[in-house]
């Protein structure tokens, strides 16, 4: 069983690669939508649900990176 911390460590080690995977996932969704994969419903319900999940994934990705990276550019205020 893969633990969340292991996933986090994996993403931190391969930051850019993980970013490209997420980009491919979202662009893949767009391609699927372009070819009618989510149906022709004007309400776009399935697409919205998929987008919401992908948004959570990308936000989690940025959250992981921004709460883990060293803050070398921060200058003390004093």
């Amino acid at each position: 069983m893969i633990e969340l911390t292991q996933v986090k460590q994996f993403v931190l080690k391969r930051q850019e690669a993980a970013g490209w995977v997420l980009m491919a996932l979202v662009l893949g969704t767009l391609a699927l939508d372009a070819f009618g994969g989510f149906g022709a419903s004007p309400r776009l319900l399935t697409l919205r649900a998929v987008y919401a999940l992908e948004m959570l994934l990308v936000v989690s990705y940025l959250y992981t990176l921004s709460t883990a990276q060293p803050k070398t550019s921060e200058i003390p205020s004093s």
């Binding site: 970013g19 997420l22 309400r43 919205r48 948004m55 803050k71």
Partner: protein, 278 residues
């Protein structure tokens, strides 16, 4: 996790509303929206190429944020193509005016786009500023929740042809909207002291751009109410306002984020060449 699932359900439920009604347009009105959609598609496409190529000049730690910026404009570009096609299908030129064809203009793509891109824009701003960890963690959570609530509550009013419904949902949606602007403005202001000198100027500009671009959305939202419902002027004003706001808030905001990351890369290299990456 429960909070996220609840918000997701709320959003999907709100998505079950209908979409914008069409009305007769003059040639100039139709053409204005047509041209603006074209410009927006071109801007988003060009921005995508710029952000993908531009990230190579940034330190490694800023590249993921730039990749997400590229993703945001790519997603927007695709949705504008869909909106553009829907706009063309919704109207036909007869006797010098554009009449509705009966095919509804599907504005739902705009809201589908925002649910994916707006939270990402907010998070990437926080991410590239490289704030202290505890500040980043709290800020990201609060901004994303507020962004989802703002978009989900704005949509029922957006698709309603009734002005009262529009104003009620618009007012509800304004609460998280104001909260986001307040939190970002104050956190960006607080971060100024910790930024290198050149970055301070850019962060100040980012604050102003944020107010300017985000200020467009409620104004555009209110236009149909001002013009008496989804009249020709209301529909055109809405599309023009949203397209301009999207250009500034996505491509413009991304460019500023890029320059902040570029300056911080230079500052990081000056402080510690080893940590700044290649």
């Amino acid at each position: 996790m429960k909070k996220w699932l609840m918000l997701l359900s709320v959003f999907v439920l709100f998505g079950s509303n209908s979409f914008a009604a069409a009305t007769e347009l003059t040639s100039g009105q139709f053409g204005l929206v047509y041209q603006l959609f074209s410009i927006t598609i071109a801007t988003m496409g060009a921005s995508f190429i710029f952000f993908v190529l531009g990230r190579q000049s940034l330190a490694e730690k800023y590249r993921p944020a730039m990749l997400v910026t590229a993703l945001v404009v790519a997603v927007a570009c695709y949705h504008y193509v869909r909106i553009f096609n829907s706009w063309n299908e919704a109207y036909a030129l007869t006797n010098g005016v554009y009449n509705p064809t009966g095919v509804p203009f599907n504005d739902a793509y705009r809201y589908a786009d925002w649910i994916l891109t707006v939270p990402l824009l907010l998070v990437e701003a926080v991410s590239v500023l490289a704030l202290a960890r505890n500040i980043s963690a709290g800020l990201i959570g609060r901004l994303v929740v507020a962004a989802v609530v703002m978009i989900a509550t704005g949509y029922p009013g957006e698709v309603s042809s009734d002005n009262t419904t529009r104003l009620i949902w618009g007012t509800i949606s304004t609460i998280p909207f104001v909260y986001i602007l307040f939190v970002l403005w104050s956190e960006l202001s607080n971060s100024l002291d910790r930024q290198p000198e050149y970055v301070k100027v850019l962060v100040r500009n980012l604050r102003l751009l944020l107010i300017f671009s985000w200020g467009f959305y409620p104004l555009a939202y209110l236009l149909p109410a001002v013009f008496g419902g989804l009249s020709a002027s209301g529909v055109v004003g809405l599309q023009v306002g949203y397209s301009l706001a999207d250009i500034i808030a996505k491509a413009g905001f991304g460019v500023l984020i890029y320059f902040i990351a570029l300056e911080k890369t230079a500052a990081d290299k000056a402080l510690s060449p080893a940590l700044a990456g290649d």
